[in-house]
Every structure is written in structure tokens, then in C-alpha cells.
């Protein structure tokens, strides 16, 4: 207790007497360390969180209804939709029919019938254009051309990744078609049935489920795929603000819809790799941050070491007149604590006062995601605690090394 008071007095006065610029510099280094620790993993995780958000907004929604594992489609689709419409907690929904087809382009111009045909195996999604747009705002993703009109027939939207130019850019990962632009005629073949469509528009999004897709109206889908029972493959639901998707899911299950289909929240239904990558990024960020911690602890060690070494004779005198070692050590540990606290406070202020909002407004544009900064306060606090503890040790060690030296030698400046 006595030692604490004296340590406090000594430590505080040393900080006070240190030059302002020295203090600013040290706090700056600590703030950078804090940012390194929080922001690096925050951006890495935010990259994935940005992608996750987009998938939720443009594709999967908050609740996903799919076929039961023992079925091919969602049973009783129409009565499910009738039910869904009655829930005020559900803001909107979209019904999708999903199938696979063979899309062929440039077949009319082909002269050499034995030459290679321009074909791509594609995903086909049948939608109600208006209903779909309320849910996923698909019409916002038009790269070229126009969105589907529910009153027209024979039109198709093609995802950007099926275009030759995309595969030129990203490498030839998917089948692609050349010379696709609005107005061009393509032929869709499903089993024995073929139908011609005019390309109405090209859709592009950072969400693969949109860019790697083709869209036609549900009426034409049902005809093409022979789905007379009107049972869909996926119903995605957007819940109203301030409504928990878990509770909506529970209500849906309670009302017996579970017997017709599988009902999952976004968290349950999202692809598992998203979680995996997120964890990997977090680990990577932590690793990079740890290097920052090591650098910071060495910095603090050197600062306190020089600080204590230059006060060696003073330390000797203090011990000589009867001040306990503990008190002197506390003085230096407190200095380290002060720098860690001040630096972290600056870093936290910057993170929560500025960076989070900034990246929310100006996401980092990556090809596959609009990255934001993710810094959950509890995790930030945990990392701060680690930084703080490491700093205390880095401050204590040099103080201990110098304070334990022989008192008289310290006073006299002897070796």
C-alpha cells in the first residue's frame, strides 16, 4: 500500500517531467500497436463480413426455406406463401425455382456444323420479377440492358460470370458464352425441351449466386422444367427491422410448415466456408497483431530500460534512504501502464469514433466483397487486456533488472 502510493508519486512525476514530445511519441507508438491489433484483423474479418452481408441482402435473405432432405422441392409452396403473407414480422419474400440447363449462343451464325458449339452449363432461376426485386433488389445489379418485365415472355437475364469477357478477366473457371449483350438470342435446353430467349440484361454482383446465374420468369421456368405442381425450390424471407429471425423461424415451424420444407435462419443456412474463412482471417489478424504486441513490448522495454538506467543513481539513492524496491518498480510499471492506456485510448477512440463509421460509409472495394471494419467491443477489450498485460511485464522487467542492482554501486555510478 505504501509502496503503491510512492510508486504512483514517482511514476506520475517522471511522466510529467518527461518531454511532451517523448510522451506523444510513445503514446503514438502504443496507439499504432493497438490499431495493428484491432484494425488488421478487423479489416480481414470485415472483408468476409462484407461478403456475408451481401449474400444475405442479395441472395439468401434472413430466413431460407428449402426442400426437405427427403424431397425434391418445397411441398405445398402455395399454402406456405399464403401463410407467410399473413405475418407482419415478415417484410417481404421471394420464391425461386432453381434448375440447371444448357445455354447456347451464336448458333445461328455458326457455319461449320462440325465446329465447336458455344455452350455453357448454367443455373436457371425462375422468379417473379417484381416479388424478387422487393426481396433482393436484383434490378439494382443490372450491368447492361434492363430488368425482366413480368408481362413479357421470352426474355432472360444472364449473370456476368457466364460472359466471355468475365472469364477472360478472372480466368476460365466457368463455362462462358461469347458475344452476349442485350438483344442477342440464346437457346436454353433442358432435357429434351429447348426454348429461345432474348437476352434482356446482364446482371453483375459481388455475390456469386447472382453473377453465376440466369433468370427467367417463373411461368416460363415451370413450362421449361415441367413443374406443373408449382412447388418451388427456395423461398427467401426478409424479416422486418427489429424482429429476430430466430423468433420468426420458430413461429413458422410452430405453424407446422416444417413438414413441408426445411426452414433455416441465415446463420444456419449460410455456406459453412464463410464461417471457416472468417475464423481463418481472425487467426491471421491475431497473428499479425501478435507481432505488433511483440514490437510494442520491446519498445516499452527499451523505453523503460533507458528511463531506469538514466536514473540508476537516483534509484540507488531512493533505496539508500529506505524506499522499498517494490515502490520503485511500481513507478516504472505505472509508466508503462500509462503509455499502454493512453495509447489504447487513442487507438480505441480512432477505431470507434472514426474508422468503423468511415469503412461503413466507404467500404474497401475487393473483387468479391465490400470490406468493412469489424471490431466487436468484447474482442477488442480482450486484445487490449493482452496488450496491457504484456506492456506491464515489458515495463516491469527492465525496472526489476536495474532496481535489484547493488545500492551503493548505483549511488556511486560504479559498475
Amino acid at each position: 500500500m505504501r509502496s503503491l502510493r510512492i510508486g504512483f508519486l514517482l511514476g506520475m512525476r517522471q511522466i510529467q517531467r518527461a518531454s511532451l514530445w517523448t510522451n506523444i511519441l510513445i503514446v503514438f507508438v502504443m496507439a499504432l500497436t493497438f490499431l495493428n491489433l484491432i484494425a488488421v484483423s478487423g479489416v480481414l474479418v470485415g472483408l468476409i463480413t462484407g461478403a456475408e452481408r451481401a449474400v444475405r441482402a442479395e441472395s439468401l435473405g434472413d430466413i431460407i426455406i428449402t426442400e426437405r432432405d427427403d424431397q425434391n422441392n418445397i411441398l405445398e409452396t402455395e399454402s406456405i406463401i399464403r401463410q407467410i403473407k399473413t405475418y407482419p414480422e415478415i417484410e417481404t419474400y421471394a420464391v425461386r425455382y432453381i434448375g440447371a440447363g444448357r445455354l447456347e449462343a451464336n448458333y445461328k451464325e455458326r457455319r461449320d456444323l462440325s465446329g465447336e458449339r458455344d455452350i455453357a452449363q448454367v443455373t436457371v432461376t425462375g422468379i417473379d420479377p417484381i416479388q424478387e426485386d422487393t426481396m433482393s433488389h436484383l434490378s439494382d445489379n443490372m450491368l447492361e440492358g434492363e430488368y425482366l418485365d413480368p408481362n413479357e415472355e421470352g426474355y432472360i437475364l444472364i449473370g456476368y460470370y457466364y460472359l466471355q469477357e468475365a472469364s477472360d478477366k478472372f480466368g476460365d473457371i466457368f463455362d462462358s458464352l461469347s458475344n452476349i449483350k442485350p438483344g442477342v438470342t440464346v437457346r436454353m435446353t433442358v432435357g429434351d425441351i429447348s426454348k429461345e430467349f432474348i437476352v434482356k440484361g446482364i446482371v453483375q454482383s459481388k455475390v456469386d449466386e447472382v453473377s453465376l446465374n440466369t433468370y427467367i420468369t417463373e411461368k416460363e421456368f415451370r413450362r421449361l422444367f415441367g413443374r406443373i405442381d408449382r412447388n418451388a425450390d427456395r423461398i427467401t424471407i426478409r424479416v422486418a427491422d427489429n424482429v429476430s429471425e430466430d423468433s420468426v423461424k420458430a413461429t413458422l415451424i410452430e405453424s407446422g410448415l416444417g413438414q413441408y420444407a426445411k426452414i433455416q435462419t441465415f446463420e444456419e443456412g449460410k455456406p459453412k466456408f464463410i464461417t471457416d474463412i472468417k475464423n481463418t482471417m481472425n487467426l491471421l489478424g491475431t497473428f499479425i497483431g501478435s507481432i505488433g504486441i511483440i514490437v510494442a513490448s520491446i519498445t516499452i522495454f527499451i523505453i523503460i530500460f533507458i528511463n531506469a538506467l538514466s536514473r540508476r543513481s537516483q534509484i540507488g539513492i531512493l533505496k539508500g534512504i529506505g524506499i522499498e524496491r517494490k515502490a520503485i518498480e511500481i513507478a516504472y510499471v505505472l509508466q508503462a501502464a500509462f503509455y499502454a492506456l493512453a495509447g489504447s485510448a487513442c487507438g480505441a477512440l480512432l477505431t470507434y469514433g472514426f474508422l468503423l463509421g468511415y469503412f461503413e460509409r466507404n467500404p474497401i472495394k475487393f473483387p468479391f466483397s465490400d470490406g468493412i471494419l469489424v471490431a466487436p467491443p468484447d474482442e477488442t477489450f480482450l486484445r487490449f487486456l493482452v496488450l496491457f498485460a504484456v506492456t506491464l511485464i515489458a515495463g516491469f522487467l527492465p525496472a526489476w533488472m536495474i532496481v535489484r542492482q547493488n545500492t551503493l554501486n548505483s549511488i556511486l555510478g560504479r559498475k
Binding site: 508519486l9 512525476r13 517531467r17 534512504i321 529506505g322 524506499i323 515502490a327
Partner: protein, 228 residues
């Protein structure tokens, strides 16, 4: 029983060929309330003897009993406690803590002794008043002259009313006017508090107020002069 009782003190530095035998079997004792001066040429071993007596160094040989405590048997922590509670120090180079103000320098040992903040501050200010620096409580050492710094250092040594005060050439860096002030202060405290004082000095003039002068040469005591 004397308050300081040191017998057969030897201090050697180094080993083998390089060994230097600095104190060669010194017997020293001081009575409670006695003011003892140690004189001798530079290099005679006065400071070295001081460090042994004031529990800052360990003799190579010998026994030291202070205030009935066999100080050489104490642990490091106990010695620190002992120095805090029983001994006071005035060093040649003032040895103030540069980061602390005059009054903080004085009340630091009082805090260590467990006084509360307010009380320690009051005592410190009273002591600073006594050494004549009542307008310099919050000056940093760097803002004080040498003489003033040494007076703060006297105040620090006396604030805890230690039984024994050790002063190693307290006036060596001061001009004659300030030197006389410091010696007067020390003498005054000796009378007032009946403190035991051991002081090393070069100037015979400053030793004249003492009870006894011990003359040293080359690590041995060559003469003891009794003044009163």
C-alpha cells in the same frame, strides 16, 4: 552500550593480485547523541568506512552493531527498513530526486514510513521552513542553488528524526557561507534532537563543533581527538 559499535572492520576490493585492502581493521564506536567527525586525506578510506557504518556496504570482515541490531545479519529488505527508520543520510552531491519538488523529496521517506499524505506534507513543510526555504516548497532541485539543495537534503534526512545521521563531506561542493549554514543546521539538530551524527569533513573549522575527531590515514585510525 554505544549506539554504534563496529569492531575490526576490513574492506577489500578485487581479488588476488588486484586486491586492494582499503579498511584495515577499524574499531569504531559512537555514543547516543554524540557528534563525531572523521577527517583525513583524500583516499584515506573515510567514505568507505561511512558506507560500512551506514549499512550501504558489506565489510569483508568485522562486526557492526547499531542500536542493538546486528545489521550484517539483516536481509536486504530488512536493511532497507532499518535505513528508513533509524538512519539519515546527507551526501556530498545532495542526492535529491530531480523529478520531485523540494517538499516531495522531503516527504517521500515519511510516506514510506506510513504517514498519511497530509501529515507527511505538513511535516515536510515545517522542516523546509526550519532550513530556511519556506518560499521554495514546490521548486524542483534544478531550480535551487547548490546550497539550497543541500538544505533540502538536510531537511529530508532530519524529517524522520533518525537516531543516527551520516553526512559525507556535506559541504564539499559549497562556498564557505553556505557551508557554514549547513554545518550550523546539522549541529543544531544534533543538540535539539540529541541525534548521533557521524560526519566526514575536510575542513577542521567545521569539525570544531564536534565532540570527537577521528583521524584516518591509509585505512587505519591514527588519532582520536576528544574536543569535549
Amino acid at each position: 552500550m554505544s549506539i554504534i559499535n563496529a569492531t575490526n572492520i576490513h574492506r577489500r576490493f578485487g581479488e588476488g593480485e588486484l586486491e586492494a585492502h582499503i579498511l584495515k581493521g577499524i574499531d569504531f564506536s559512537a555514543e547516543a547523541g554524540e557528534f563525531v567527525a572523521i577527517m583525513g586525506k583524500s583516499g584515506a578510506g573515510k567514505s568507505t568506512l561511512m558506507y560500512q557504518l551506514s549499512v550501504l556496504d558489506d565489510p569483508s570482515e568485522g562486526e557492526i552493531i547499531i542500536d542493538n541490531v546486528d545489521v550484517l545479519k539483516l536481509s536486504e529488505h530488512e536493511r532497507t527498513r532499518f535505513r528508513l527508520n533509524t538512519l539519515g543520510y546527507i551526501f556530498q552531491n545532495y542526492a535529491l530526486v530531480p523529478d520531485l519538488t523540494a517538499e516531495e523529496n522531503v516527504f517521500l521517506p515519511l510516506l514510506m514510513r506510513g504517514r498519511d499524505w497530509k501529515e507527511a506534507k505538513e511535516i515536510a513543510r515545517a522542516m523546509i521552513d526550519e532550513v530556511g526555504l519556506n518560499d521554495k516548497y514546490t521548486n524542483l532541485p534544478a531550480e535551487l542553488s547548490g546550497g539550497e539543495q543541500q538544505r533540502v537534503s538536510v531537511a529530508r534526512a532530519m524529517a524522520g528524526k533518525p537516531k543516527i545521521l551520516f553526512a559525507d563531506e556535506p559541504t564539499a561542493n559549497l562556498d564557505s557561507v553556505h557551508s557554514a549554514q549547513i554545518i550550523d543546521l546539522i549541529t543544531e539538530f544534533n543538540k535539539k534532537l540529541n541525534q548521533t551524527i557521524v560526519m566526514v569533513t575536510h575542513e577542521r573549522e567545521y569539525a570544531m563543533g564536534c565532540d570527537r575527531i577521528i583521524h584516518m590515514e591509509d585505512g587505519v585510525i591514527i588519532d582520536i581527538e576528544k574536543l569535549r
